[in-house]
């Protein structure tokens, strides 16, 4: 026996398997993404994955850590996938590489590697890209059936790697602003919500295509809940707060504020609720803390979407709430068995 202490048995589970199941839960959303926006997303996911594994291996080597066991834990892949899903699929290849490398090298390993990062690495990568390369971050593909032309895989690869489009095709013909962006722009033009939502890029809930992708992520999120990889606290508090805040504004002025459901199914709200905010390392460890954390993120998301300058608010909401995690955890310590509530007052600072 190698381990000479109890317990001598353990549940057959490991970090790699947990991360793998989270990756698996992303698959329905990714499949729908491909259906509506073409195969480019697979290219960026692959690029991000390769970059993540490469930088992860390099950092492990530099930090003198065992490379293979950590490469196999699937955590770098998860960061890569989440980042790739957050940036436009037609973004140039170096954008994906820079964002992923920043996420792994700076946000993950410089903080101490797996389990030690204060911030969600994928969101750090996203924040760096949206601030440094705002133009390239707008190359969102028009959904299936809406663009003037559609590119096949080869053309998409050509644009990603060489920035070259086929003859007679302009960038405007294949890309468009996101539903959230379009909404923001047109509201500034003094149009009402009703007029804006009549535009062809909007579907039943939110954006044409993207609303269905969100439903795919919702499906994966439910799988995570059922398999108890995540608890209900973060998704429920996040989506609940987003719904209530959006609901209050919508009811007060329906001409200028869209419905709560629109907020749920546009942008990365669903992805954020189930996959990003629930990152165990950078979210609180107490259930009350999780509710506070996610509610805060929901509120910030709404404020950025409704009144801020960035297209979506998930990344900054996540990062801002990440900062608060140690404080939230400190003040939400649950009661210990055999101790009264007040007994926790001797908590350390």
């Amino acid at each position: 026996m190698a381990a000479f202490f109890s317990p001598f048995i353990s549940k057959p589970d490991n970090v790699a398997r947990i991360m793998f199941r989270v990756l698996l839960a992303l698959v329905p959303g990714i499949a729908l993404y491909m259906w509506y926006f073409g195969p480019a997303i697979l290219v960026s996911i692959t690029l991000a994955s390769l970059t993540a594994l490469g930088t992860e291996a390099l950092m492990l080597k530099l930090r003198d850590r065992p490379v293979i066991p950590f490469l196999k834990d699937n955590s770098a892949l998860l960061t890569a996938w989440l980042l790739a899903l957050s940036i436009p699929p037609l973004a140039p290849w170096w954008l994906v590489v820079v964002g992923t490398a920043f996420a792994i090298v700076i946000a993950k390993h410089l903080y101490g590697g797996l389990g030690n990062n204060l911030f969600n690495p994928a969101m750090v990568g996203y924040a760096v890209l949206i601030i440094s390369f705002p133009l390239q971050m707008t190359h969102w593909i028009a959904p299936h059936g809406l663009g003037q032309t559609e590119l096949d895989l080869l053309d998409q690869l050509g644009y990603i790697f060489r920035g070259a489009l086929p003859n007679n095709v302009t960038l405007d013909a294949i890309t468009m602003a996101t539903p959230l962006d379009t909404l923001k722009t047109h509201l500034h033009l003094d149009q009402t919500v009703g007029q804006i939502l009549d535009m062809p890029i909007y579907g039943r809930l939110a954006g044409q295509g993207s609303e269905i992708v969100s439903l795919g992520f919702l499906l994966g999120g439910i799988y995570l809940l059922v398999t108890r990889i995540i608890s209900w606290h973060i998704p429920v508090a996040y989506l609940g707060t987003l719904f209530i805040t959006a609901g209050i504004f919508h009811l007060s002025d329906p001409a200028h504020y869209v419905t709560p459901l629109f907020h749920w199914f546009s942008g990365a709200a669903i992805l954020g609720a189930f996959f990003i905010l629930t990152d165990p390392v950078s979210s609180p460890t107490t259930n009350t803390g999780r509710l506070i954390f996610a509610a805060g993120a929901g509120l910030i998301t709404y404020l950025i979407r409704a009144f801020g300058g960035f297209p979506d608010g998930i990344a900054f909401a996540t990062l801002l709430m990440n900062i608060c995690v140690p404080l939230i955890v400190l003040y939400t310590q649950p009661k210990v068995f055999g101790k009264k509530d007040g007994d926790k007052k001797d908590r350390p600072s």
């Binding site: 202490f5 317990p7 001598f8 970090v15 066991p69 950590f70 310590q333 009661k335 210990v336």
Partner: protein, 516 residues
Amino acid sequence: MRALHHFHGGIHPPSNKTQSTLLGIAPAPLPSRLIVPFHQHAGEAAKPVVQAGERVLKGQLIGLPDGFISSAVHAPTSGTISAIGMHLVAHPSGLPNLCATLVPDGKEQWEHHEAVDYRTLSASDLQQQLRMKGIVGLGGAAFPSDIKLRIGRHKVNTLILNAAECEPYITCDDMLMRERASEIVKGAEMLRYMVDAVEVLIGIEDNKPEAISAMQQAVKNNGMPYEVIAIPTIYPGGGAKQLIYMLTGLEVPSGTLPPDIGVQCFNVATTYSVYRALAHAEPLLSRVVTVTGNVRQARNYEALIGTPIDELVALSTALPDSSGYIMGGPMMGLPLPQAHVPVVKATNCVIVASEKLFPAPPPAMPCIRCTRCVEVCPAELQPQDLYWFARSKEFGKAQAYSLFDCIECGACSYVCPSHIPLVQYFRFAKSEIHAREKEKQAADSARERHEFHQYRIEREKREKAEKLAAKERAAQAAKSGNAEPQPEPQHVPSDIETRREHILEIAQSHVEHSKE
């Protein structure tokens, strides 16, 4: 039906109990020699009262309880004491301990013993009886039972028999209940009488239907108003505080004992030996031990205390690919340094291990704060935080996060997807804190001793000077013939005197503290 209260967390490891319940309890034959440690219980070791070469009878006292928390040790059979010396025992430290080696003569000749009706004895006489019969908790902790009966000013309403036996593999209590339920019930009545409890609850996990019906039948046959309660099978449902909560809904406040909330808890095997001790005046000489794991035939044996574990395991035949032995269950058990250590009062189970049964865990990964440990912790702690503090040796923080409420059940380690030996970290932190406290206490008392010494020297000096002055005064008075007595010099409390009072106060508080 009694409403059960579910404690927080808990796990469902594979139970592996059926293997050892197929056959009844078998008496283990007399081994070639018995190695009886003088320290088998919590508290102080017993003091040897026999010498090498002496012939002893079965049941003869060989170790006298020494100290408030201590218990007697007896010769498990008749024979000759061949040696009294250090021998390897099952202890986390792996260090040898003082043991008597007894070569049995095979005659099983009893020392004269006669029981008296326990109802005629006073409470303190009964406690003394149990102490001198070597009765200690057989659930694993081996805490002297007489101490648990000294409930002082507390009123115990509820007596609980702990028959949960929640650890995987172990079945000794299960088999004891199936076969000797009536004696257990009689023992329970003795305990109930001693603590003057109003109700008796017997908690048995529902994976032991035979034991439950045997106990129900025995309670009925003895005409006792006891409740036999089937509790859900969940580890660690047999933890005293968890069982008490499950049955009564009462939380034993942190840092206190069950009698503080009017409850006392005894293991069923202990209850059985209380019955043997009071009804038959038999000291604790044997116990039921489960031998299981990587063996041809897992079974429960009634083994004499001191039986070498290798001889006991041989009865069940360990399979060739065996790799070691565990004393106790797979969750909280102790790995044995080697098999030639004796069965002691705390030995409820011996598991023969193999690489296949207990594969080495994969290398530990970093904690990802997934809080699966929080979900299963029956003490409602934050194991991931305690781990962090223990690792960085921030013991003050660990204590503030209730480290000492951890019962070391191992549920957190069991579920950890990073395979971090969490309990091992907690044991380390606890022992470090204890060591530091001891060091501090030693330093404090050394300082106090020094200060008192200084004070005494100065006092003696002063007294001498006063005496001398008085003598001189007397001589002067005699010389001058002045009959008027000199007034006594006014006593002014000096600085040193106030300090002395302070020192005495500290000493007082120390004595009171150590009494607890």
